[in-house]
């Protein structure tokens, strides 16, 4: 049986470059996610950057390799993202404030003040949902292409 034709560029340059770019891009997406509250960035943009990284990997190595790399199903990412989004709504109800009011906890770690909040949880939820959405779409389409060939 012939090996199914993958959507991959079969280009050594792209493959090698991807291995270098992918981790950088992922770290950058996290950076964007975390700094988003004060400077340009945020969960949505971060999620898009990370999805771009995965799309690049898909182009370079094909859909099966991407699935192996991810380990979790992109649909699960989607579900976890939505769940985090919902979880972020709950604490405000517990302290008897209006639904979805942001809650902040500030922790000092040495000299740094770390601001934790339900907003952050929510933003991470958005981040994961965006990744889940795009990667689900990419892999679904790519797999359908493979099956037809």
């Amino acid at each position: 049986m012939a090996k199914p034709k993958n959507i991959s560029a079969d280009s050594l340059i792209l493959r090698t470059a991807t291995l270098i770019v992918l981790p950088v891009q992922l770290v950058f997406s996290l950076f964007l996610l975390l700094r988003g509250h004060d400077q340009p960035g945020g969960g949505f943009i971060g999620g898009l950057v990370a999805s771009g990284a995965f799309a690049l990997y898909l182009y370079a190595y094909g859909v099966y390799a991407l699935k192996q790399l991810l380990r979790v199903s992109p649909k699960d990412l989607l579900a976890i993202g939505l769940l985090l989004g919902l979880v972020a709504t709950i604490p405000s109800v517990l302290v008897d404030q209006a639904f979805f009011t942001a809650q902040w906890w500030e922790i000092s770690l040495g000299d740094n003040l770390i601001k934790l909040s339900t907003v952050l949880v929510f933003d991470i939820g958005v981040y994961l949902t965006v990744i889940g959405t795009l990667v689900t779409m990419f892999t679904a389409v790519a797999e359908a292409q493979l099956e037809e060939s």
């Binding site: 004060d38 960035g41 989004g85 929510f122 939820g125 958005v126 889940g132 790519a142």
Partner: protein, 764 residues
Amino acid sequence: MIGLLLAIVLTACIAPVWTHSWRLPRALLALVPATGFLYCLNWWPAVASGNPVLQTLSWMPSIGLSLSFYIDGLSLLFLLLVTGIGSFIILYASSYLKGHQDEGRFFLWLFLFMASMLGLVASDNLLALFVFWELTSFTSYMLIGFNHESEKSRKLALQGLFITVGGGLLLMTGFIMLGSLTGTYQLSEIVQISISEQSHFINAMLVFILLGAFTKSAQFPFHFWLPNAMAAPTPVSAFLHSATMVKAGVFIMARLHPTLSEQSVWSTAQLWAGAATMLLGAWLAYMATDLKKVLAYSTVMALGTLTLLLGIGSEYALIGFVSYLLAHSLYKASLFMLAGGVDHSTGTKDLLQLQGLRATMPVTFGLIIVGALSLAGLPPLFGFIGKELLLEAGLGVDGWLIVVIVVAATLVVGVALTLIVKPFLGQPVTLPRPPHELPPAMLAGPVVLLTLSVLFGLAPALAEQGLVHAAVQSIAVSEQAVKLKLWHGVNTALLLSLLSLAAGAVLAFWWLRSRRVAQQLAKWSDRIGPESFYFRLMDSIAAFATWQTGAIQNGRLGIYMIVLLLATLAPVAWVLFDSVGFPGWTFELIPTVYECAMVTLMLLATAYAVRTRSRFASIISLGAMGFSVALLFVHFSAPDLGITQVLVETLTVLLLVIVLIRVPGFARFSSNAERLRDAAVALFAGFVLSWVVLAALPVQWAPTISEYFIANSYELGKGRNIVNVILVDFRALDTLGEIFVLAIAALGVYSMMKLRKGADHGKA
């Protein structure tokens, strides 16, 4: 009350596990409604002494929706009927459905139905009542369609659902009108108000509420769904279609009686619909030969009678209403259970076949005699009192009404006697199954309920002092003295009653001989009756949908785009043209070099995308167009938007490339005329959108919200990036909605790709 509802819902949830996994005796489930019955009895002393119970739990205060319960005489009567009869139904079903594979599902829906019915009758809030009302429609749909493998059963369940839910929509409209008219949605306050003024608004409201009630309570011309709902297993018929669900419509009419009875539209409509339904129901009951259908039509007759009594609205009529309701619930539930038992035992419910069961089913025979005589209205049964009051009330109105009542009563007597004579007397014959006496679990209900029928008949004070009196007070506008008596002395009503008995006996004697005529008439009425209209309506809806789908969604994406664009933008264009006008240039129109360069870039990219023959090139040039927009964002200092635009554009191009990579180059499918049409639509869309933007710019209703965000972003949101603070804090609920939309879109793509026809080798 809320505890009672929760207990029943909880029972519903564990019922499947109870029957399937734990394999505990089903009959024990009946203890839950039985406990509920005792619990409801607790309210009796308070309610009987004229103090309704009011319990409130705030739910959605912003739209005036609260979960509050108002238990007065009428509610309590229904609560007791639902829990009391419900207990016996569960007991009966535990035996009737023994060994059925879907037993668990059955109990699940039956308990859920019970909970919604209890909520309906006890609800104080009109909106909550409506929610429970719809729940009864829905749960009964699941119950009627219980034998979902039979197409007929599915179809008839759907019919019941369509009719009751269609009526429900009208009812909701009526409720909202009533709420805005009285200024409150609390029934406890509404019943204190009597609306006497006249207006078109009020008339429309009355019609909406009445149609809701009529559809639910199977009044003419909506009567046909009720007998069809007999597709359900017998316990369901006995519960839903004798004692509970179909009485919901009557309940709501009685509930609103103090408020609306001054309206002539209200009472006249009830009078006519009630009389027509009563007569038609009695006639069809006499015509039918299927045991369950006979009972179903006699239920239609009873519902008509109840509506009629409300329409008359006199003192006698209201007392008659409550007595008749109680009497009917007692005997009809029993008769249904017994009829189902006969079917269960012999394998047929065709009255033409059944004969000579007297010897093999003696207890059932005895009980049927009592039930049928109560149906016929013979002393000393409680049904007799109901019938006396009906005749008495009818005598107070026009002459034609008393004729209708007597004719209907005669037919019912004929039906009742046939129920006793035909299946049980005569020579035993061979039946699909050898008949046997019913097990105790199936007889318990009829025994107790019919005993009550006799008891209330012999000592009407028992029923009157507690239930009937309190219930009449909650329907009546003013205080009513209620005195139920078995013996009224020789009067016109008694003579008419006797007349109907005698004539009914003759009808029963003729029953067998009239069957050929009956079948002929049935065929004829199938063709022109309201039910044929229903089927034609359904067919034409389906035909219209087919035509419309073929016209608009014909599989060509180009057409979809045109329909979408025109449908959205044509109304917008109309408003712009008609009332806004061209706003003119409200800003400096001297572009910088950067802006000129970017616009040129965009125009070039667009032109190339339109002209090129290569898919790839057109995708890329669309991408170039998107990137230029991103540049614009950056130029006007919106870095977040710029970044987002760049990323979205990148990913869109990537996605398009994957999708289109193996599609051949553009072939020219469309003619020149079609291309011109497409170009015209595209130009039109672009023009309208530009116009909207221009028109929107100078509009300034309120201070811009952006100032609030700028001022409070750090104060309240603890973030300096306003865009992000808006997304995840100020407008987080919107974002939550949006990510759900994203997820749905992803699942949509996934299922289109994976679950297509023929893609069965795909891994889900």
